[in-house]
């Protein structure tokens, strides 16, 4: 049987999740040139927020049809609160400081958030089971799709569409574009840049929370370290796609996910390469791809050369 369609779907699903998280990196970077390394943990907090709703706010046995939207809401609220709080108390005081200061702050914040969940969330010291959707799996033309993945298939493009509409059509969205292009001029034009920055953090966090719910449904568990590696991959995806570009984030995620799954599936079949083909090598191949892309397109796949910002 031909394995390719299934492996492509596996990669695209993984990539959609990277993409959802990558949006947060790219939006914040686009507007304040900050690599928010705590974003992976904001993603993780979203997963725990959703879990909290399911475990403590809803009666046992609530149907997932009702529970899921509330869980997403809970996750989004948790993520947005943490992200906005981080912006207000950790990043805003450092806005005038050299670029490295907020970067280190972000790394510190990331560790602090991990440890906070580890210490204070009940039973979070090892993985906690996440609720799952019954039914499935579905077979479509030889490709198996899990029930948990259906959510991702719907949520990822929908989130992208909502984001595109918001950025292109709404007043706040256009304000974001203006701030990204030139914060000082935007301010002169009467845009409240402080508010725009908060909105960018909040939006990124909301999409990360959706990604976290997808993660929980897909893998059936959440744990306090889940944001670490995934955040790193999402950041890679954002760079790959062209950091600062929201479509680039999603595209970068998809390319990265597919690269990982295809390298796991096929590199071992190349004669003499079976040493380097297993899943433990997937990260290596993903980064080889990243380096190649950046060599030929330093601005990333969809990034634009921004001459006035060099």
């Amino acid at each position: 049987m031909n394995e390719l369609p299934q492996q492509l779907v596996n990669g695209l699903l993984l990539g959609s999740m990277y993409g959802l998280v990558a949006i947060g990196y790219t939006m914040v970077y686009g507007i304040v040139q900050l690599i928010n390394f705590a974003h992976g943990e904001i993603f993780m907090v979203g997963g725990f927020g959703a879990l909290t709703v399911y475990l403590y706010a809803l009666p046992d046995g609530t149907s997932m049809v009702i529970a899921l939207p509330l869980m997403i809401l809970g996750g989004v609220i948790a993520s947005v609160l943490v992200a906005v709080g981080a912006e207000r108390f950790a990043y805003r005081p450092l806005r005038g400081a050299p670029r490295l200061a907020p970067l280190i702050t972000a790394i510190g914040l990331s560790l602090a958030l991990q440890q906070a969940v580890w210490a204070w969330y009940p039973d979070a010291r090892s993985a906690i089971t996440f609720p799952h959707i019954d039914g499935g799996p579905f077979e479509i033309g030889g490709v198996t799709i899990q029930t948990g993945d259906i959510f991702l298939i719907i949520a990822a493009p929908l989130s992208m569409a909502i984001l595109a509409y918001f950025v292109m059509k709404t007043r706040t969205g256009r304000g974001m574009q203006a701030t990204a292009q030139d914060p000082d001029t935007a301010k002169l034009m009467g845009i409240n840049t402080d508010r725009i920055i908060v909105v960018a953090f909040a939006l990124g966090a909301a999409f990360a929370a959706v990604g976290a719910v997808a993660y929980g449904l897909k893998y059936g568990e959440v744990q306090f370290r889940m944001g670490f590696i995934l955040g790193l991959k999402a950041f890679t995806a954002a760079v790959l796609g062209g950091i600062g570009n929201i479509y680039g984030a999603m595209l970068g995620g998809l390319v990265l996910g597919v690269a990982e799954s295809l390298s796991t599936a096929y590199i071992a079949d190349i004669p003499g390469m079976d040493q380097f083909g297993s899943q433990s090598w997937a990260n290596v191949w993903a980064f080889v791809l990243l380096i190649l892309v950046l060599l030929f397109r330093p601005q990333g796949l969809l990034g634009e050369r921004v001459a006035d910002r060099a």
Partner: protein, 409 residues
């Protein structure tokens, strides 16, 4: 210019972060009874008390604690009170080594029980051996730990202070292969491991024996233990036509892996070693895990007449966590140290000698007693002489023993 500096930061941070797992080690003070006067002897425990593998680690800690409390209550060693000090290694070799140094620096520590992971064991051995501080692991199964790196051709014991009550992978892997081939009648296996000392060793010994018996290896794969996405591997397993999967590794990955393989449409059992023999595996693998198999060291603790007392006492002591896969072995490991201390004290007119550590290590070689898991004694490599193994199967959401036996090459 901005882009270029960004690339540099990306590369540096990504490379650094991928190898770094962001965890410090935390001390959790063990609790021991401080009743009675005289000398205090501390038994150190090194195990993962937090993180993915904490279910097993806490079982180890509690069981050692129980052994110390029992010895104190019965005044087993006249004039000596045992205390337990547990350190968390988070399953990281670097933390394990730090903990080993901590134990060495405390004069009252006369023995260490642990660790859980073979890779952590490797990092601790030399530190403890240099200090002649005896170490008894209830769970390390990597053959190289006692028989040297070239254990397949030439057995040489690397460290005289290292002992274990667990059976090695050299026996566990082949035992599983025999069961899978002869009893479960599976002939085509897909072998997966996590590239760690334990997982890769187990997978290798399984593979050798399975081939020898006439079985076919239809695929091999090494997973990345940091990820939870095994869908690609699951698809490969499905398309390989395997009728069984052997996984060398531990339950935090084995659970999701088994779940995703079955979800991908390959309704075949997953077989693993003692690293997946834990209730958490079933929880993570979901209801499809019925029929999955695990081998574990020794006979089922619940079925051994010698273990009845241990199980009862453990319940009575009211520990929050289950004793887990290694509870009985941990109790026996701690008790071996207590026995050795007793012998040393008795030979020295009821007092601890000045070179107590070296004496305890020396004495350990000849310790022999009836423990929770059967007769406890050590061979010339420091391995247990008890070579019993058991196959367990998931039924009705629980591990049920299927077959016990000893592996005979």
């Amino acid at each position: 210019m901005r882009q270029r500096s960004l690339i540099a930061i990306t590369a540096a941070l990504a490379a650094g972060a991928l190898t770094l797992t962001a965890c410090g080690s935390r001390d959790e003070g063990g609790s021991g009874d401080s009743s009675g006067g005289g000398t205090t002897v501390v038994i150190g425990v090194d195990a993962p008390l937090t993180g993915d593998l904490s279910a097993l680690g806490l079982g180890i800690k509690n069981s050692v604690d129980l052994a110390a409390k029992t010895a104190n209550k019965d005044k087993y060693v006249e004039g000596v009170t045992f205390k337990v000090e547990a350190l968390d290694d988070q399953a990281q070799p670097s933390s394990g080594q730090q903990n080993a140094s901590t134990f060495v620096s405390k004069d009252e520590v006369l023995g260490v029980v642990g660790p859980l992971n073979s890779s952590v064991g490797e990092s601790m051995q030399k530190v403890l051996d240099d200090a002649k501080l005896v170490q008894v692991s209830p769970a390390n199964t990597g053959p190289g730990l006692t028989q040297g790196a070239d254990w397949q051709t030439k057995k040489v014991r690397p460290y005289k202070a290292y002992f274990r009550t667990a059976t090695t992978d050299a026996i566990q892997g082949p035992f599983a292969a025999q069961y899978v081939y002869n009893d479960a009648k599976k002939k085509k296996v897909f072998v997966i491991d996590d590239k760690k000392t334990y997982g890769a060793g187990l997978a290798a010994t399984f593979t050798d024996e399975f081939k020898k018996l006439g079985g076919k290896i239809v695929g091999t794969e090494h997973i990345d233990p940091d990820t939870k996405d095994f869908s690609t591997v699951a698809t490969k397993v499905k398309n390989s036509g395997a009728d069984v999967v052997y996984y060398g590794g531990e339950y935090p990955q084995a659970g999701p892996l088994g779940k995703q393989i079955k979800a991908a449409g390959a309704k075949i059992p997953l077989v693993g070693g003692d690293g997946i023999y834990d209730p958490t595996f079933i929880q993570l693998a979901g209801k499809d895990s019925t029929g999955d198999l695990a081998t574990s060291v020794g006979a089922p603790v619940e079925d051994l007449p010698s273990a009845k007392e241990f199980v009862a006492k453990y319940k009575e002591a009211g520990y929050k966590e289950a004793y887990g896969a290694y509870g009985g072995y941990s109790y026996d490991s701690a008790w071996a140290i207590i026995e050795a201390v007793k012998k040393v004290v008795e030979d020295n007119d009821g007092k601890l000698p000045d070179d107590a550590r070296a004496k305890v290590t020396e004495t350990m070689q000849n310790v022999s007693f009836d423990g929770v898991t059967g007769k406890v004694s050590f061979d010339e490599f420091g391995d247990t002489t008890n070579k019993q193994l058991t196959v367990y199967s998931v039924e009705g959401g629980e591990w049920k023993p299927v077959k016990s036996g000893t592996y005979t090459g």
